[in-house]
């Protein structure tokens, strides 16, 4: 089985995003960028499947600027076999990403695509579901557990009320949730090995896919600021303020 793992280069999860003064977007100058945390979990899951002998090859794919190569290298250092970079400076939307991934999935003959459930920059939570629709495949979103069987995969999903378990026929698209696994750190030897693994660079035009955005960003603003708070001395003071000042109890 071949597994495709799309990975996205995003703002590091420890960095609080700042909005540009001109309202045109978020300021990413000199900001630390990393692999989307949910995508790390996806890469880790694919590697565990390979280590369990259930997959032969893991291909990491990224769609974005040239530096996304570093993100693919991270996946290779964790254990993916090779990478594909679809290089573009266009901020490709989930629908466009899904269309590109469909073309790559079909070209590669992958049977499983594991994605992060959402990117922590755009927070759309759409790409995996869209890809599944375009491929006509089953989807197992927000997965916290995967069990690969014969022609099927059992997925436990984190849903609003608790947990739900589904059986999906293969081929399928899975999106990862936080508790699916804890991703490994790439060891130094593996980081060195990863430099020799191949990354194929392509462009969106190579796939004949229209990635023109459908949404226009009119403006980006900071959320309303909260008024500053105070420290209270003890619970008596706290309850007094909640009751008589804030009037919420």
């Amino acid at each position: 089985m071949k597994i495709l793992v799309p990975v996205k280069r995003v703002i590091d999860y420890n960095v609080k995003a700042r909005v540009k003064a001109d309202g045109s977007g978020v300021d990413l100058t000199n900001v630390k960028m990393s692999m989307n945390p949910f995508d790390e979990i996806a890469v880790e899951e694919a590697i565990r499947l390979k280590e369990a002998g259930k997959a032969e090859e893991i291909v990491a794919v990224s769609i974005g600027v040239a530096q996304a190569q570093e993100t693919i290298r991270t996946a290779l250092a964790m254990g993916a076999d090779r990478g594909i970079l679809v290089q573009t400076d266009v901020a490709v939307e989930p629908l466009g990403v899904a269309k590109l991934l469909k073309a790559i999935t079909e070209a590669e003959g992958a049977d499983l695509v594991i994605l992060g459930k959402q990117a922590i920059d755009d927070d759309s939570n759409q790409t995996g579901q869209m890809l599944a629709a375009l491929l006509g495949w089953a989807q197992g979103t927000f997965a916290s557990k995967l069990e690969l069987g014969d022609g099927k995969v059992q997925v436990t999903r984190e849903v609003d009320g608790g947990l739900e378990t589904l059986t999906l026929t293969l081929p399928a698209v899975i999106t990862t949730d936080l508790r699916l696994n804890e991703p490994r750190y790439a060891s130094l030897p593996n980081i060195m090995k990863a430099k020799k693994k191949p990354i194929d660079t392509k462009s969106p035009e190579d796939f004949g896919v229209d990635i023109q955005p459908r949404l226009e960003t009119v403006s980006v603003a900071e959320p309303p600021k909260r008024a500053g708070g105070v420290k209270v001395e003890d619970v008596a003071q706290l309850v007094d303020k909640l009751k008589n000042e804030a009037r919420v109890i």
């Binding site: 995003a17 927070d123 849903v159 960003t217 909640l242």
Partner: protein
Amino acid sequence: MSILVVAEHDNAALQPVTLAAVAAAKEIAAKGGGDIHLLVAGKDCGGAGEAAAKVDGVARVIVVDDAGLEHNLAEALAPAVVDLAGDYDYLLAPATTAGKNLMPRVAALLDVQQISDIMAVEAGDTFVRPIYAGNALATVKSTDAKKVITVRTTAFDAVAAEGGSAEVETRSGSYGQELSSFVGQELSKSERPELTSARVVISGGRGIGSAENFAILNGIADKLGAAIGASRAAVDAGYMPNDYQVGQTGKVVAPELYIAVGISGAIQHLAGMKDSKVIVAINKDEEAPIFQIADYGLVADLFKAVPALEEELNKVL
């Protein structure tokens, strides 16, 4: 211009989140006129269809009742929505795990770029949505003829569940479950109010230390009629089940009062609760980032402060 809202329901009644999604639909309708229809899909969902007909602002309810639609499997439900989509300019669903699972599949089948988690409607084609864990709000304009949208339900005041009298139309359809099938579920049972709609929420973090210790919050939750939430750290450590997680990728809450106990205040947690009206933080670390966002901060050992707070509340209220 007309709007189809995909209702979330349990076959007998509508979930409150549906009423918030209808509220968003009303705002869209106000920007251009148009009828709001509610889709109630499932197996044996007639009861929910009747409840839907009473919702304020709904002109028509469409019930699609089919064995293949049991358990809300996206692979079956998306085609059912797409079969109806021809009549609508807008397709909405609440941004719950069900809505998030379903709508992008619908959008892709319709070749539409979905707009997720809207918090406001600026115009018929322009919406505000949170990005970067809610540290930025993007105003986006859609150029698609059809709009597929999920609604952040804490950003819209629910419409009334009674007062409407819509016509109920039953449409037939046959949807298969070849791609996926339901095996089972483990749902949390609680007498407490639902986390995303509770007026008061008290949440525990890693500082609580164990699953057993979470009981320390019960007295206050009882007294205030609060829902109980948890930080990611507490859920990862196994103190609470996943559906209690408040945060960027968990539940988004905006209660009147949010009490964060033993929660440090990571960016991702804040994303799920920073629109609360009043925020209280109890943490023994005075440098904890949560204090930057709290209206009232108490630097104290939670194991002393929480019982003391419970006692004080019982005295005063």
